[in-house]
């Protein structure tokens, strides 16, 4: 072969390779799972065979006809009103009357529209009793609109009380023996106005009384119905510190709360959207994880109930800024260690943040987490809000549901170009509503499907979004898991912004077994919030934590639920109560709910 023909061959080969590589990405997208052209719909029978469960929307059949309404705010907000008024749909589960059946509370966010408390009628249906119970009419001029609610027995009287956080005045309701609620905000020590988008109950000092964390979003001196300035938005899309302040209220045990925010070191003023609390290091005091919009997330280590140390950056959880909107815990590897799931934004071709799943880095002596979301296949959601872990098919591994969708406006339109135009700009530009192009009914990451990721038990999750027999692409916000009909399955309630509430009945392969535990604290707080339950079976173990609010504007059922696969024996269950002492029960019976009272 001559030099010139050799040269031609080399050039031809390089060119051929180049063309092949150029075509590769397009082909990858066409055939990949991420391509939007891929259909997810799966027939019910094949869903059951493939994943061991399917979901069916039974909202209407079960008497749940709730529809959320977004707030109408100051006219100055009008150009980007859908963005500002994009939250407020929430759901919180509780057995408020102690009849052994889960009820749930949902919030509305527009003046004159009422919140609802759905009482479980034990016959498959629910009835809204919020009006007669005194917790419906909470969206009024002067006191603001509801953003979410969380339940806990703050006075340890055996009945779950209700805290409603608003863009406005927070409201605390004491449960009168399951027959009604009395508002006790007045003398509770809670502040007059917070633009809050998250609150959780926790017992940060393990004194046997549940304390209250509230996360601020807009600054607390802003009245969104009576603006004095249009410069109310974030100062940065990455390191913003001009959000609402956070609050930690210590329960005095006498029906009131003391603001201990400053002395415990929780003084950040980021735009908080979610929080979660669990005893991560096993010292008997729960840590606090905070997800922030426009900033890095925060990881607060609890120093023996006295104060918190922020280790977000060193632990990596708070290293890179994204758009934190959810905190939930999952022992996805069944190794007794909680991973922390924080949702963010993924919009193809525009903003690929990816959701984070932080798992402890085993070989490190320091507290370091690595993001395993990509490795597990639970990274690319959409514009994600709430997420919950739970064993949807009772196979022994926690699965994951992620709510998606930001603003579904006019179909086929997009605000993303205008959004991207402003977000790259300097603080003075981005923080002022006047510099934002009007949305004019356009969509932004709207009409997205929620994700259902099924844990296959070997370190990967499969997308089973098609496992809903009824598809709705609403702008989902809050998700709660609860066994609504005491069948040993986790049903799902999804609160959708400006749309109807969805109740999904879960139909699980009957060959899979389960076990559930309802805890009642005695020396610990009565709701057993922050207790950890660890179940051992078939050479496996799994930990779950009892929470006082988890996810985004949501609260799961108080009882903890474990799937067992086809095993009919559970070896033992260990309970680490919030005050640190342990209790163990050998061979608890399967396929039943165990009521466990803390041993003194």
């Amino acid at each position: 072969m001559t030099d010139s023909s050799k040269q031609r061959l080399i050039k031809g080969s390089v060119t051929f390779t180049f063309v092949g590589i150029l075509a590769g990405p397009a082909l990858f997208n066409h055939f990949s799972e991420n391509s939007p052209v891929r259909e997810h719909a799966v027939a019910i029978e094949s869903a059951m065979n493939r994943y061991g469960f399917y979901l069916r929307d039974v909202s209407k059949q079960s008497g749940v006809d709730f529809e959320h309404h977004s707030p109408v705010l100051d006219p100055l907000i009008e150009p980007i009103h859908p963005q500002i008024a994009s939250m407020g749909a929430s759901v919180s589960v509780s057995d408020f009357n102690n009849d052994g059946w889960n009820d749930f509370y949902v919030t509305n966010s527009s003046f004159g529209h009422r919140n609802a408390l759905y009482l479980n009628r034990k016959d498959g249906s629910f009835i809204d009793v919020a009006g007669e119970m005194g917790v419906a009419d909470l969206n009024k001029e002067g006191t603001g609109v509801s953003m979410g609610a969380v339940w806990a027995d703050y006075d340890n009287d055996g009945y779950e009380d209700l805290f409603v956080y608003r863009w406005g005045r927070p409201a605390l309701f004491r449960n009168n023996g399951g027959t009604g609620f009395e508002e006790v905000t007045e003398n509770s020590g809670l502040p007059g106005w917070i633009n809050a988008n998250t609150a959780i109950w926790l017992d940060y000092n393990s004194d046997g009384y549940t304390d209250l964390f509230i996360g601020g979003y807009f600054r607390e001196d802003i009245d969104l119905w009576n603006l004095t300035s249009t410069a109310i938005l974030t100062e940065s899309f990455e390191y913003s510190e001009n959000g609402g302040r956070n609050y930690l209220f210590k329960n005095t045990g006498t029906g009131s709360f003391t603001d201990v925010t400053r002395e415990t070191g929780l003084t950040s003023t980021r735009w908080t959207l979610a929080a979660g609390s669990a005893d991560i290091n096993g010292d008997g005091f729960p840590e606090l994880i905070i997800a922030n919009d426009y900033a890095t997330d925060e990881f607060y280590f609890n120093d023996a109930g006295k104060n918190f140390s922020e280790i977000g950056k060193n632990s990596m959880i708070g290293f890179s800024p994204k758009s934190g909107m959810n905190v939930s815990f999952g022992d996805t590897y069944n190794n007794g260690k909680f991973g922390i799931y924080i949702s963010n934004i993924t919009e193809d071709g525009i903003l690929l943040q990816g959701n984070n799943f932080w798992v402890p880095y085993e070989s490190s002596e320091k507290v370091v987490y690595i993001n395993a979301a990509g490795q597990l296949g639970i990274e690319n959601g959409g514009w994600s809000y709430g997420a919950q872990f739970g064993d949807l098919n009772n196979d022994g591994f926690p699965d994951l549901y992620v709510a998606n969708g930001y603003i579904s406006g006019e179909p086929g339109t997009s605000y993303w170009y205008d959004y991207s135009k402003v977000t790259g700009g300097n603080t003075a530009i981005i923080s002022d509503i006047r510099n934002w192009p009007a949305m004019k009914g356009r969509s932004q990451s709207g009409f997205q499907q929620d994700k259902i990721w099924i844990n296959n038990g070997s370190g990967r999750f499969s997308d089973a979004a098609g496992n809903k027999a009824d598809h709705e692409n609403f702008d989902s916000r809050a998700v709660a898991f609860a066994d609504l009909w005491n069948r040993g399955t986790l049903d799902i309630i999804v609160a959708n912004q400006n749309n109807r509430l969805l109740v999904y009945k879960n139909n699980v392969n009957p060959e899979n077994h389960w076990i559930a535990f309802e805890l009642e604290g005695t020396t610990s707080n009565r709701s057993a919030i922050n207790a950890i339950v660890r179940l051992y079976w078939d050479s496996k173990s799994q930990s779950q934590v009892v929470t006082g609010g988890i996810g985004f504007c949501s609260q799961n059922q108080r009882r903890v639920h474990f799937g067992l696969g086809n095993n009919t024996v559970a070896d033992r269950v260990e309970i680490i109560w919030p005050d640190g002492h342990q209790q163990m029960i050998e061979n608890p019976g399967v396929d039943r709910i165990h009521k466990i009272i803390e041993s003194r």
Partner: protein
């Protein structure tokens, strides 16, 4: 992005003692941006993506220069291309960083006209991937905290470097044109002037105006023509922006740059035949 700020054959623009070869200013500058950006604003979530893109670009350059020309090339150009890909793109996968870096470098060896490559390498790779693989890749979403101080520091340093490299007129023309077209766009869209000019204050544009549009091997050689081309890039971007292309600057350079290069090379050939032009050293 930039291959070498000092054009082939040009005299060293500085006077006196040279503490650093001017060709290494861009890689040093962009490395400083990367390092300071990471440790102050966490622009790299982890190191894998940037290491992969730099490594892929350098490896591709090494292989192709050896295989096609039988020599080892200076790697500063490949380094800049790799680092640009790592900074300017985002993906939840790792493969797009490899592919983008590889096609950026390969474009220099395959897409040639009269012995020189006509696309800025990283502009080609990034534009191609953003257009063809939007489900796997997006552009830079980091904004240096939307803070004015890092923006000013980068602007001052960047302007100093392009001035020293005698490329300030290109950057200045583009910036002035962008501001002018922002004013027109604000009249057309009804959005405020600040809204339209806002992208210019972000880091994506800083990297674009200092490294990409000033790239000597892929810009025309005549000073007036360079000014015209910078204006045309801004004009095409204006059109693309009116059609809501988020990555309008990349696409504008992708479209205008090679056309300008082809015309320039063709004109140069004609002048050469008439004995009025200086031969262009192939890049």
């Amino acid at each position: 992005m930039n291959k070498e700020i000092n054009p082939a054959g040009a005299k060293d623009p500085g006077k006196g003692v040279q503490w650093i070869n001017v060709r290494y200013l861009p890689p040093v500058f962009i490395s400083l941006i990367l390092i300071s950006g990471h440790f102050t604003y966490g622009i790299l979530e982890d190191y894998k993506a940037i290491l992969l893109s730099i490594g892929s670009a350098i490896l591709t350059e090494l292989i192709l220069s050896r295989v096609m020309y039988g020599k080892w090339k200076n790697l500063s150009s490949a380094y800049i291309s790799g680092i640009s890909v790592g900074i300017l793109t985002r993906s939840t996968f790792l493969w797009p960083f490899v592919i983008t870096a590889v096609i950026s470098i390969m474009s220099k060896y395959v897409l040639r006209f009269k012995g020189t490559h006509i696309w800025n390498p990283s502009n080609f790779g990034i534009s191609w991937m953003l257009f063809m693989a939007p489900f796997s890749m997006s552009g830079l979403s980091i904004q240096w905290g939307n803070n004015i101080w890092p923006m000013l520091v980068i602007w001052i340093l960047g302007l100093a470097i392009v001035w020293r490299a005698k490329r300030l007129h290109i950057t200045a023309t583009y910036v002035i044109s962008f501001i002018f077209f922002s004013l027109i766009r604000s009249q057309i869209t009804g959005d405020s002037f600040f809204t339209e000019v806002s992208p210019l204050t972000g880091p994506m544009y800083q990297l674009f105006v200092f490294f990409m549009i000033t790239d000597p091997p892929t810009t025309v050689k005549n000073r007036k023509a360079q000014i015209l081309v910078a204006f045309l890039v801004a004009f095409v971007e204006f059109i693309l922006r009116l059609n809501q292309f988020i990555y309008a600057p990349f696409y504008a350079l992708f479209l205008v740059g090679p056309v300008a290069m082809i015309i320039s090379l063709q004109l140069n050939k004609i002048k050469l035949l008439k004995g009025k032009a200086i031969p262009v050293t192939p890049a």
